[in-house]
């Protein structure tokens, strides 16, 4: 079974992890028509242009959907279960869904389409060499009460 850390030498996603190391969430954006293009690909699906510089996002979005993993089926996560993994639709274009782990949450209080925000944490796995900074998401706390916004 392979490990869970990203391969930082894989060119198409290298800039995602380099941005995360700077605590930025970035995805490619078409220089010609402005479309956010996710996952990375060679040409813009709208206009076929091939220039798509990695561009920072606000880090805000909504929780599109998630799964609560009660018992890890993927060995590197054995000690992490139970955990919540899912998809965040970013506010710039909800067609862009970032796969993430939802942190700092009560799984029972999560709601589809609730507001979430990025938070950067170190990520490592038992038995794997290396550590990366990764973009996780958490429910947006209410400015007054600190409770999650619904």
């Amino acid at each position: 079974m392979k490990g869970a850390l990203p391969d930082l030498s894989f060119e198409p996603t290298r800039a995602f992890w380099e941005a995360a190391a700077r605590e930025e969430l970035a995805v490619p954006r078409c220089a010609s028509c402005g479309r956010w293009v996710w996952y990375p690909r060679e040409r813009c699906p709208d206009c076929e242009a091939d220039e798509m510089p990695w561009t920072p996002l606000s880090g805000r979005g909504t929780l599109f959907s998630w799964a609560s993993v009660e018992r890890a089926l993927f060995k590197p996560f054995a000690e992490r279960a139970p955990y919540v993994t899912g998809l965040v639709a970013v506010e710039e274009d909800p067609r862009v869904r970032i796969v993430t782990t939802v942190v700092d949450c009560d799984p029972g209080a999560l709601r589809v389409d609730m507001p979430v925000e990025v938070v950067f944490r170190e990520l490592s796995f038992p038995g794997e060499d290396g550590v990366v900074t990764a973009p996780f998401f958490r429910p947006v706390p209410h400015p007054a009460t600190g409770e999650a916004l619904r």
Partner: protein, 408 residues
Amino acid sequence: MVASQASWGRPGRLDDVSGRVAIAGVGESQHSQASGRDPVDIAVEAVEAALDDAGLAPADVDGLMWSGGLPGQLDEAAFRRHFAARGGDPDRALWTSAQGGGMVWAGTAPVRAARALASGRARVIVNVFSTAWATQREAGEGSPGDAHSSERFKANLELPFGWFPQPVYFATIARRHMHEYGTTPEQLGAIAVSCRRHANRHPGAVMHGKPLDLDAYLARPMLVEPLRVEDCCLISDGGAAYVMTTPEHARDLRKPPVQVAGVGEGHSDSGVFWSQQGDFTATPQVFSAPQAFEMAGIAPTDVDLLTLYDPFTIVALMQIEDMGFCAKGEGGAFVEGSRLHHDGGGLPYNTHGGLLSHAYVLGIAHVVEVVRQLRGEAHAQVPDAKIGVYGGYTGHMASTLVLRRADA
């Protein structure tokens, strides 16, 4: 959802094969938990059973289809090796295609077979698929997740966050479906319970003798919430095969022939990246089923029984909607209670037990079951079944195979 059909996928380009191919024989190996068997040996058992069913001998076979994407299949070399060892001619002409086997190809194999039959390059074509994943899992030698974890975008953008393997994908899809359409655990459970009920009438099913009712389903713990183990397919050892020939030749063979009436194929533009699929809670059956039904000249209401590639209950529910058996979002109500039972008065569904309760042979046993139903040979027989449909699914693709009793 704002995504229109046109924005996220498309139908495949297929020849009109209606009435050009018959299925003359079907066969299965034993299905089991880890058996220690080699998948090729399992496939041979299935092929011999299918030929015997048709009243044919291995020497009659001049066409072979298998699944080129998966290791350990009964491919041309393995076929020649085996049947030469049994006294066959090792050098005889054999039309072959690696675009057969299970999954979506269990549904689309007749399209390629039709060309070979029409050109005279083959007269008797066997399509076969087998797996020994239960044995391999015990030996730590691979699993159904490997194709995903070795995909480099998934490895770099999904695995670091624990969004893997398949039960995680489909739990995420199920939750979104529940949010958009109000689908309930009881409705997903009705699918699992129907499959188990049918498996309990099928002596060859892996879950035969292990009843499951809705209360028992609901009492089971979550595996990946909102999915329970009972929402997920088995991992088992086994194989199945079917024999294709011309409708004319089929009339002279042992069993009542079943004809291919229509085939469809659908593709998702997001490929294997399900996280980015335009309509997250749909399947490419949206593109496949209308093509097959049009080729067959039927409407969904003409279908007497349905088998669906069912790795998870939610995949069956979405396909039922996407094939037009009900409106999108109404699948939950459509499957409730006994409506999918073979004798429930609704749409008889996976009457052998499916991947959930019969065996994990990736859809080819679903086609075998449709043929048996149309012949009146099934264990959970639908009275006077004339038209049966198989829906195949791999995530980025779907297929639809409409079979019709030749006298219907």
